[in-house]
Structure formats: structure tokens, C-alpha cells
Amino acid sequence: MNDDTLTLYFYKDGLTPAERRDVQSALDNDAELRERYARITTTLAQFDVTDSAPLPADMLARFHDSIDRAARSEQQRASKLPPQTRWSPFAWGSAVAAALVLGIGIGLFAQRDQVPAPGINTGIVTIYPPAPRATSVAFERGLQVYLRDSQQELSGQPMNTERSAIALQLIRQNRLFERAAEEHNSKDLARVLRAFEPILLRLAADDISEREAEALQAQLAFELKVMLTKLGRNLSEETGPI
């Protein structure tokens, strides 16, 4: 048995179970081999160096600063909204916007019927205290339409040159849904919608490669599909098909 096999045995990698058993058996029965194996392991153990010296303060500051800059840059991208006129060529953009209105609108309509408590005017929609289940179903149906349209568009066509603008528009819409979900007391839903934002922000970045963008689009489409499936399951359990 050579040292290479013993090395692999030491690393618990690269040997089949049968080979491992052979080595173990040989070690059990051969004192000289055991001694050779002990020499190998002792030597290798001397290279278990994972300690590290403290970093210079300026280097550590640069690492911290890189995160701050990335976060700032992300916030700046999110805050610049695309001109409204850019959206006219995109049928899907208006479809998403319509779905948004539908989602919020259905929720509000149901709330007016059921919630007499005073509301809070946010400037976009009037948000009422946590809604009863009927309102949540209406809201989730609106959200379902929004997600379905977004998912179909993401998986159906490349975004290419308009990617940044589309992603920023989606961020804006996503935030509205996220806020609405919070107000409907759907904390989990809001959290999931919030988790979409970094993906969308990355898609809005100028320095993203086509390959990464395609991967992120695919990821987003997948995430939306998962969410749609879960929403669809919840709704059908409560109310039957749409």
C-alpha cells in the first residue's frame, strides 16, 4: 500500500468504500504500515495552519468601506425612477401596473365593505387596519396576477437594453405590494417580496454582465413561479379556483 493511498485515507476522500475498508483492514493488521501512516498524519498535522495575523487598520477600513459604497450605490439606483414615457412601448409594463392597481384596488374595495375603522392616507392608497380573511384573499389574487405577469415576461423575452429601467419599475411596484402586504398583516409575504429587491437591484446595475443578468432573470422567474404556486395553493384551499 503506497503513501498516496494512505494520504487519501487520511483526507477521507478519493477512495471508494471498499478501498477504505481495505486500508482500514491493512492498518489493523500491519504494524509497519500503521507506523508509516502515523508519520504521514503527524507531518500533515503540522500544516494545520489556519491562524491569521490581525489585518492592518487601513485594509480593514477598506473592506468595511466597500460594503458601505455598495449599499449606497444600490440605494441610489433604487431611488432613480425611470421616466414614465419610457414605459409606453412595453405592454408587459402596463400589464404589471394594471395588476398592481387591481391588487390594491380589490383589497381596498373589500376593505371598504368590511372595515369601518379610520384609515391612514399614504398618498397612494388609503391603508386600513389589518384586514379580515376575505380582504386578504382579494389582495392575494391581485398579487397573483402581478406575479404571473411578471414571471411570464421574465421568462418569455430577454430584457437587454431596457433591463435597468424595467428592473427599477419592478422595484417600485414590488415596494407597493410589499407595503400593502405589511398593512394586510401578511408579514411573511412582505418579507418574501422584500427579498426580491436585491435581485432586481442587481438587474438594474450598469455593470452587470449579460450572463449574470440572464441567470438572475431565470432565478427571479423561478422565485415568482414558486411564490405563485404557493399562493395558488392557498387560494384554492380557501375559495376554489379563480
Binding site: 495575523a53 468595511h64 455598495a70 418574501v192 427579498a195 435581485i199 414558486v226
Partner: protein
């Protein structure tokens, strides 16, 4: 692909800062073992942090943030040496030692122990990376092969040669 819906909360800016404070020294040391170049090691950590921030939606909550960044940093270090020295991970057919003294020859700035640093100088880039990823980073041989665009057989050979040279260098080092 892991769905966002299954994960929940994203790591925050504060958590990134906390991870940097706790572990940046280890990320840097690991990258230095891979690159043997302080500037490249720092660049690798920087790139890893930015990449991790951009891709934080892919972070799985059951993992540790610093471990995730560590892995990204190692990948960044490997990419940087590949970019700086194309073909560096092409294993040599012959068991040749790398006597090229660049980029760091005096080791005075390395934070590795003298023992490991001096012994490592006798290894080629391919052997060193195979050994570091296997022995110190505890990657699977298949992972190393994938990352180096190689195959398991070659990685094994690189590891065996590396271990052999390291073992051979031990008497000299002990006498230092």
C-alpha cells in the same frame, strides 16, 4: 436554485460589517495562501465582499455569512491568479518544483507560519492550490477539480506531489 420564498430575511449591511470585523483576517489569510501575493489577496477579499453583497439574495439562512463569504473569497482568489497568470493551473506532467520566486519571495509580509510558508515555496502553483484547498479549506477533490477546470485524477496527482514535497521539506525546516 434555492427559492427566496424558502429563506426569508436577507443579511443586512450591519451583519456584513460584523462578519468583516470577525473574519476578514481569515479570509485574507486564506486568499494569501492561494495567491501568495498580498495585493491579490486583498483584491480577492474586496471582490468577494462586493459579490456577496450583490448576491445576498442567494445566501441561505442555515449557512453562516462569514463561511459563505470565505468560500466566495477563495473562488475570487483562484480567479485572480488565473487571470493574472493564464495556464497557471495546468498541471505539469513532470514532477517539477516551482522555483519561480515571484511574486513574493521573502515571505516577510506573510501571516502564515514560517513552517508552512517556507515549505510551500517548493510547490508549484497547481500543487499548492490543490494542497491548500484540500488540506486547509477541506474541499472535496471533485470540487477542486471543478474549480480548476481539471479532473479528479490530476488533482490527486497534484495533491500527492504537494504532500510529498512538503514531507520532504520538513527536515530542512526543522533545522531552521
Amino acid at each position: 436554485m434555492v427559492a427566496v420564498i424558502e429563506r426569508g430575511v436577507l443579511p443586512t449591511q450591519a451583519e456584513f460589517h460584523e462578519a468583516i470585523t470577525r473574519r476578514a483576517d481569515r479570509w485574507y489569510a486564506a486568499c494569501l495562501r492561494i495567491t501568495r501575493n498580498p495585493e491579490l489577496a486583498e483584491d480577492a477579499v474586496q471582490e468577494a465582499l462586493l459579490s456577496a453583497w450583490d448576491k445576498r439574495s442567494q445566501f441561505q439562512q442555515d449557512a453562516r455569512l462569514e463561511t459563505w463569504i470565505h468560500r466566495i473569497a477563495i473562488n475570487a482568489a483562484l480567479q485572480l491568479i488565473r487571470k493574472n497568470r493564464p495556464g497557471v493551473f495546468e498541471p505539469l506532467e513532470e514532477d517539477l518544483a516551482d522555483h519561480d520566486s515571484s511574486p513574493v519571495t521573502d515571505m516577510e509580509n506573510l501571516d502564515l507560519s514560517d513552517l508552512l510558508a517556507k515549505a510551500m515555496r517548493h510547490l508549484s502553483d497547481f500543487e499548492r492550490v490543490c494542497f491548500v484547498l484540500k488540506h486547509l479549506e477541506q474541499w472535496r477533490l471533485t470540487e477542486i477539480a471543478d474549480e480548476l477546470n481539471s479532473n479528479v485524477s490530476r488533482v490527486k496527482q497534484g495533491l500527492f506531489r504537494g504532500v510529498k514535497k512538503l514531507r520532504g521539506s520538513m527536515p530542512d525546516i526543522r533545522s531552521l
